[in-house]
């Protein structure tokens, strides 16, 4: 496009300067706090201290577990949903796709509060359980890992569906019927045809859902509270309650590393499957 490399670099300069000054530099300064637990100098002792606390380890593992569970469940539901959406005639496909995107246009706060109405003692789920005599009394659903899981899944499932739909739209129309004609079961079709052809979409969707679940604040704060702490809610506590910027910076670093690792891991798995 350009006559020489220089022109391209010059044009990229403003954007690069903007990103460096207003994003990379501040983030680097913020993250460096975690390596300076005392005024004396650089050290990893902040990280050692962080992981020596039982609560911090529990919160770390819970965040990892819920993130993976939400991403995994979203992938299963997402494939089914995406497959049925791409099988629809173009006109109704647009409409159904619109319904999938609709929740993304509603504030996460409103969506999360809706869960309180649904999962509360006097909510729909408990009324149904008691009404059908499935339980003696209302079951506690709020402030449990289940509540956080449901909230996060509902929040990020559309991202997985969108990624998978666009991946599936690129599958040549004839390959699935061809596989079927050649005698492949639906399970074989999925694992040997659909999955390899949509792995890019799965990597993108998986990264978005996993990263989103790690970094969501409102949903775990409202549905989990202080009983089901996640890294993000713990980070908020460290900054706003204990004024502990070292621990907060360490949590931020862990979250960033977890997001990158998830992306690399998914890409690696995807590239290995052929």
């Amino acid at each position: 496009m350009f006559s020489n490399r220089k022109e391209g670099l010059v044009l990229a300069l403003p954007a690069a300067a903007f990103a460096t000054l207003l994003f990379i530099l501040p983030v680097a300064i913020l993250l460096s706090e975690g390596f300076r637990p005392s005024a004396t100098g650089w050290s990893l002792s902040g990280y050692v201290d962080f992981f020596s606390s039982g609560l911090n380890r529990t919160v770390f593992l819970r965040t990892l577990k819920l993130g993976a569970l939400v991403a995994g469940t979203a992938a299963v539901i997402g494939y089914a949903a995406a497959f049925s959406i791409v099988s629809l005639p173009p006109k109704s496909r647009g409409r159904v796709f619109g319904l999938v995107i609709l929740p993304l246009m509603i504030s996460p706060v409103a969506r999360t509060f809706a869960w309180i109405v649904i999962l509360g003692r006097t909510g729909i789920v408990n009324s149904a359980l008691v009404g059908l005599h499935l339980t003696d009394g209302p079951v506690r659903l709020l402030f449990t890992e289940t509540a956080v899981f449901l909230g996060l899944l509902q929040l990020f499932l559309p991202l997985m569906i969108i990624s998978l739909v666009s991946a599936m739209e690129n599958i040549p129309r004839d390959v699935i019927p061809a596989a079927r004609v050649l005698g492949a079961s639906w399970i074989a079709v999925f694992f040997r045809v659909i999955l390899p052809l949509t792995k890019e979409g799965l990597v993108i969707g998986g990264t978005l859902v996993f990263t989103g679940s790690l970094t969501a604040y409102i949903t775990p704060a409202i549905l989990g509270g202080s009983k089901v702490l996640m890294l993000e809610t713990l980070l908020y506590q460290k900054v706003n309650v204990s004024n502990d910027f070292v621990a907060a910076s360490i949590i931020a670093m862990i979250l960033i590393l977890m997001s990158f690792s998830a992306n690399f891991l998914l890409k690696y798995i995807a590239s290995g499957r052929r």
């Binding site: 003692r121 506690r140 202080s226």
Partner: protein
Amino acid sequence: MKTMLCTAAAAGLMATTATAADKTLTISVYAFAQDEYKEALYDPFEEICGCDLVVETGNSVERMAKIEANAADPVIDVAVISAHDAYALSQKELLAQIDSTRLTSFGDLYPSAQDPLGDQTAVGYTFYASSIVYRSDLVKINSWADLLDEEVAGRVALPNITGTQGPLTLLMLSKALGHPEDFAQTITTVGEHADDIVTFYSRSSELAQLMNQQEVIAAPVGRFAWGSFKESGLPFAWAEPKEGQTGGMNVMVMTKGNGNEDLAYQFMDYWLSSEVQTRIAEAQIDSPANAKVVLSDEVAEGLTYGAELINSLNMISPQDIVAHRDAWVEQWNAEVIR
């Protein structure tokens, strides 16, 4: 001549404006009820002092961090915070000694508000009682120990240890469980009941919402939040447990070397005066620390009012809170939150 007079008048006006802008007092306060404070305190004070009041709000942690960060050249002149936060600042030598002779209302304050830290760096301006709010149609609370009773299991909330109400609840539970000095044993007991506790709330508004949704039927809370319960339509009651009520005090402090002492004293004295304390009490924002304030029963209902109540409150000394809080939080995180 006419022109000259006009010019002189204009110059005079400009001079007045300049002085008003020159005199600025920066205060750091809790973020709640700012409209009411503006009407009851800020606006009338600005009129009296002919100065500008700069009001900074935020949670205690942010505001304390700001005072500490600007220690060499204070931005904040006067701050209002909890007694134990004030003690923490005083330990870091960030507070100025308050000369009580410059506060005309000083003698009118309840004795416990006059020098709550014992080093003349703070003056109490409001008290709050804390007790248990409960659903009188579903349960009866007679003791702090009832919070851990089978009857409310699965429907009780406790304040988190990181807030002001957390240690107060520990104090009263320890008393009720028969080992008033041993908070560690109380934390272990709460940990054993952790599954029976719906959540550990951080803000009273969060609790009000949970109680209005009938998720929670009993929880300790400060009297300042009573308003959001009594008007909800549900039968909420304020417990008078046999161990008594607990409570605390918020104080005003002046930063060391702020260079604005005259205006700071004027403002503190105004806030402590029975005139302003009455106005603030009648707006149902803060309970008075000035013993001369006289309130109607109706106004007093929502507040912590009267020598008898204030003297009966079980309080933890700010020194104890600052000395032990880290240990409490650590044990709480290990045994209760897990």
